[in-house]
């Protein structure tokens, strides 16, 4: 399966293709971080999962397309994203590392993403997402990750109608946004 097929598959919501991509580069990635950066296997795996999740998000939002790869491979992209995540984690711990800027730029991110303040704000948002409780956690995942329609969500969550599903998803999303804003406000007022 070519990189182009993989991107098309993931963009179309095919989870199997995403898993195939995950297994294809898992071992080389973990080995690379272990041997070249001295990262433990557990941490390398965690970073790889973050990189895959970021890659998935970039594909479904249309930021990463076969064309935007510009001749690079998904493996290179994945490794660059992973290295960047490692860099940000280490910077958070105020540890100096060698960083491949050129590879990072290929990921399509801007330098603003490396801004410590930006990273801190992102961390706050991610923490808010992780703190989400049921059923909002399931509802937003079904909508944004699984990509189910309102009718499918209603059937899965035993709601009486599509309308109820839409209302519930909307309520949960608004609740999360309000919570994130309050947390970011707290962060800004520090």
């Amino acid at each position: 399966m070519s990189d182009s097929d993989i991107i098309t598959g993931i963009a179309g919501g095919d989870k199997r293709t995403f898993e195939d991509l995950y297994w294809r580069h898992r071992r080389p990635f973990v080995s690379y971080l272990r041997h070249s950066q001295g990262v433990s296997t557990e941490d390398a795996l965690d970073i790889y999962q973050d990189a895959c999740a970021a890659l998935h998000n970039n594909i479904v939002t249309g930021r990463l397309t076969p064309e935007s790869l510009e001749g690079a491979t998904l493996k290179t992209y994945l490794f660059a994203v992973g290295t960047k995540i490692l860099f940000n984690r280490r910077r958070k711990k105020q540890t100096d590392i060698l960083f491949d800027t050129e590879a990072a730029l290929k990921t399509g991110e801007t330098l603003a993403d490396d801004d410590p303040d930006h990273q801190e704000r992102l961390a706050v948002i991610r923490m808010c997402v992780r703190q989400m409780k049921s059923p909002c956690k399931e509802l937003l995942s079904l909508r944004l990750w699984t990509g189910l329609s309102s009718a499918e969500i209603a059937a899965r969550m035993n709601y009486s109608s599509d309308r109820s599903a839409i209302t519930q998803v909307s309520k949960c999303r608004q609740k999360l946004i309000t919570y994130v804003k309050s947390q970011l406000k707290g962060y800004d007022n520090r």
């Binding site: 999740a53 998000n57 930006h118 990750w145």
Partner: protein, 194 residues
């Protein structure tokens, strides 16, 4: 991408997607761990069951062989060994108990015969007569040992019998041939009764 009021919702959606994607990958890892954990477990269970079946067959063969060996017990010479009548009597009792399948009682009788004989040997000196006597009593110990092995087989504990039989088979004892025959009959997979 910077985070501001305009794109906050987009960033939150991305965070939800990334969080769900990571949870999905973790579950994929867990499934793999379970799958790879189950395979060796099944293999180990299969190997263990093969060994259990083999052990069961060996124990059954040992029991049959011991019963065959003990067929002549009723005709045992009750005269016994001179001077150690009590030990001889214990040995004969043990043989009869093995024949009847009273293995625990036989074990006690054999222990008694062994202790009595060893005590008698420890009291012997270095005179010619004592040396001759020691040789005689050592052959009694050999008898006790042989019956111990047979008792283990009869009580379906072939693992305990094996080293004793092997020791006999490797020695110049009168039981060497019998022990080698039993080992072949019980443990050799190619053995076919006549």
């Amino acid at each position: 991408m910077t985070i501001d009021e305009e794109n906050l919702e987009e960033v939150i959606d991305a965070a939800v997607r990334e969080n769900a994607a990571k949870e999905h990958l973790r579950s994929v890892e867990r499934r793999r761990k379970i799958r790879f954990g189950v395979i060796p477990l099944v293999a180990a269970a299969a190997v263990a069951s093969v060994f259990l079946v083999m052990d069961y067959r060996i124990a059954e063969r040992g029991y049959d062989a011991a019963s065959f060996v003990m067929r002549g017990t009723a005709y045992l010479d009750r005269a016994g060994y001179r001077g150690v009548e009590q030990a001889s009597e214990a040995l004969l009792s043990a043989a009869e108990q093995i024949y009847r399948g009273e293995c625990s009682a036989a074990e006690e009788s054999l222990d008694e015969a062994w202790t009595l004989t060893e005590t008698e040997i420890s009291n012997l000196g270095n005179s010619d007569s004592d040396i001759m006597r020691r040789m005689e009593l050592e052959s009694l110990l050999e008898d006790v040992k042989w019956y111990k092995a047979i008792n283990y087989l009869k009580s379906k504990r072939p693992r305990k019998a094996r080293p004793i039989l092997q020791e006999f088979a490797d020695s110049g004892s009168v039981y060497a041939g019998g022990a080698a025959g039993l080992i072949e009959e019980i443990w050799s997979s190619s053995y076919r009764p006549l």
